[in-house]
Symmetry: C2
Subunit: 395 residues, 2 copies
């Protein structure tokens, strides 16, 4: 019944089983999760968080209930892997939706010793409401560290979706590279590449495909303003820059795939690179290679970042450092663990991370490749397979 | 120096002045704001929230400081209307970014009696960190109600940006209507309309334009799956449905304009509508008209929603009700106040809201127009001016 690339219901049941085991180990009466990524992870229900709160409640005995606004009732009943779906009429309404949550928790026998990701629904888009502890009259036990750790290790089915995402991210990036030329604009190249890649993906995967992401629809590629000298400012929002000969570019591409993401970024040059561009490009490659070399199970994330920083120092590149070496990726386009000297999470097989040390040179621009990699039983494997060498990235 | 359609620096100064007056009235030593919309509102600095925390700190004496990751330092120094920008190296790093915030607050003389939007940075994308109260050793005074109330009343410059957004949302919608035809797909029509409208907008506005929104880039129009019988589920995520003769459609269109948004939604039919489609379409128009008639300054939002609900009752349409009558809109595509029986906010001139009562009929589909309206000195004015009548919306 389920299309073959989707996470199977048995895997959702296994995820939920681990959460319920955790509740037992902490002697908690139940869990309340508000985070959309967590609800997607445990209950296979995708939504974009708004001011209308949603909550997944799980009792220690394993009963799973989803609270949604009336607006989402049929959608939730049709999709969520839970035992029951309860709807409140509206937000803010009277009584407030949190009153409905309180009643639902009572009904599930979750009265004290409640675990939760947050002490109440986060105040997004003008939402205001009481905290969960005010509602239940007891302090809540934090569940985020457990849930985040569980989500960090991907199953084979999750890795397969991230690989599928990478395939269509590659197509979008290939088209972006093809359509980027001096005189054209960022918006035109990015929209055309994203549009065509998405259509090809939808035509190819057909009913196998759903985006299910709050971050992206379909496949996409673009520059987010990281063009020419503007490339010295990473993660800028998109402008509408025109390309010029000699421009140094930092691209980004990916595709939402049943909620999962991959990340592919490349440094490219329009026309023959200058000697300085060549030198820094090769240094950037060496930095990324030093991370690849350090990535293996059993190693703390902080050690990987320290190895990369030693390479910055050895090559006298620290003035051009602006960020750590990478981050986890999965249902969120950024998530833990972080390849950062302050993150001592030990790498485990199944973790999926981006590897993207960068160089940012005022007056010249930015140099950064980002690859998505999988930690294996021994070392690591690149999931993104786009060419990394300069010759392949001169337009 | 500033392009003419942008909010002028004097208006940002006035906004900040009101916040500082509020701190004085509550005898607070300072404010800490983490919410990206609030930082854009007071400091003219746009960013997409990630696991790297940002914070705007304002002392009672009026000193304004922005804490950002190293990654955003030049961007923030170039754009934010603050007295100083401080950068921490990375997240999570060691010491944690919140340690840098603690030192900055010390430096600004903000030690106790701190006001804040949240008790710490929200845990997005795997972020974990201490609460602000743990950091400062004192309870924090909630500032959200004040800030939200301030943002709800738009200035003439803000209304002008929402009008500009509506113009380009109209173009996208016009193109969507033109490109929607039986046999085509949702993705194709939506992407083509959005792409062409965005390019026209960029060509027309040129350097006057920036999106500055975390929710949208450029102009867009689409159906988000609200096609045919799927339209009975409002706010669904986009699928890739093919259009069929007789399909009932609910569209959505808008454009990000220096952070501001408008909302335009229309119910359309492919080919001649059935009698039942006609009947429900006319009822939906009547419901929207009842809201228009009730909207004027001095009236509580709850009264407007109650007037609309009376209309549902009078027309025997309550079984098809799924949500309240509308919501505020501005820097967020949804925000308070809400046209909801539980929201007793009194309407004031300058408030901008959507008006969108809907009918959702199982087996038939959804009927909803959404218009963006401005509360004036007397009644209200429609900002979105797209045709509402059925004859104009048959494809």
């Amino acid at each position: 019944m389920y299309p073959s690339i989707r996470i199977p219901p048995s895997e959702f049941a296994a995820r939920m089983g681990r959460l319920i085991d955790h509740l037992a180990s902490r002697e908690l009466a139940g869990a309340v999760l508000f985070d959309a990524a967590y609800i997607l992870y445990y209950a296979d229900f995708a939504f974009i968080p708004t001011e209308r709160p949603m909550a997944l409640a799980v009792s220690a005995g394993g009963e799973r209930a989803l609270l949604v606004p009336r607006l989402e009732l049929e959608h939730a009943r049709g999709e969520a892997l839970v035992d029951r779906v309860e709807a409140y009429p509206e937000y803010p309404d009277d009584p407030h939706p949190m009153e409905h949550l309180r009643r639902l928790l009572d009904d599930l026998g979750i009265r004290d010793r409640v675990g939760a990701d947050d002490d109440g629904y986060p105040w997004v888009l003008g939402y205001q409401g009481p905290s969960l502890s005010a509602l239940t009259g007891a302090a809540v036990h934090p569940l985020r560290p457990f849930v985040e750790a569980q989500m960090q290790v991907k199953s084979p089915a999750e890795v397969a979706l991230i690989r599928e995402s990478a395939t269509w991210g590659h197509l979008a990036h290939r088209l972006l590279q093809r359509y980027t030329r001096a005189g054209g604009t960022e918006t035109e190249a990015g929209q055309r590449a994203s549009h065509e890649a998405t259509r090809a993906m939808l035509d190819a995967l057909g009913p196998l495909y759903q985006a299910r992401s709050a971050f992206a629809e379909g496949a996409s590629a673009g520059y987010r303003g990281q063009i020419g000298r503007g490339g010295a400012i990473p993660h800028a929002m998109a402008g509408n820059v025109s390309f010029m000969p000699g421009d140094l570019l930092v691209s980004g591409a990916g595709a939402a795939m049943w909620g999962y993401h991959s990340e592919l970024e490349r440094t490219m040059v329009i026309g023959p690179p200058s000697d300085e561009q060549r030198r820094l490009f090769e240094h950037m490659l060496a930095l990324q290679q030093s991370a690849f070399d350090a990535l293996r199970p059993g190693v703390p994330c902080s050690d990987v970042d320290r190895a990369v920083r030693r390479q910055y120092e050895a090559l006298e590149l620290l003035p051009y450092w602006k960020h750590h070496s990478g981050h986890g990726i999965g249902l969120r386009y950024h998530e833990g663990p972080f390849l950062d000297r302050g993150d001592h999470t030990v790498l485990r097989p199944g973790m999926v991370l981006t590897v993207e040390p960068g160089l940012y040179v005022e007056g010249l621009g930015g140099f950064r490749h980002s690859d998505t990699v999988l930690i294996g039983e021994e070392g690591m494997e690149r999931i993104t397979y786009y060419a990394r060498d300069l010759a392949s990235l001169i337009l």
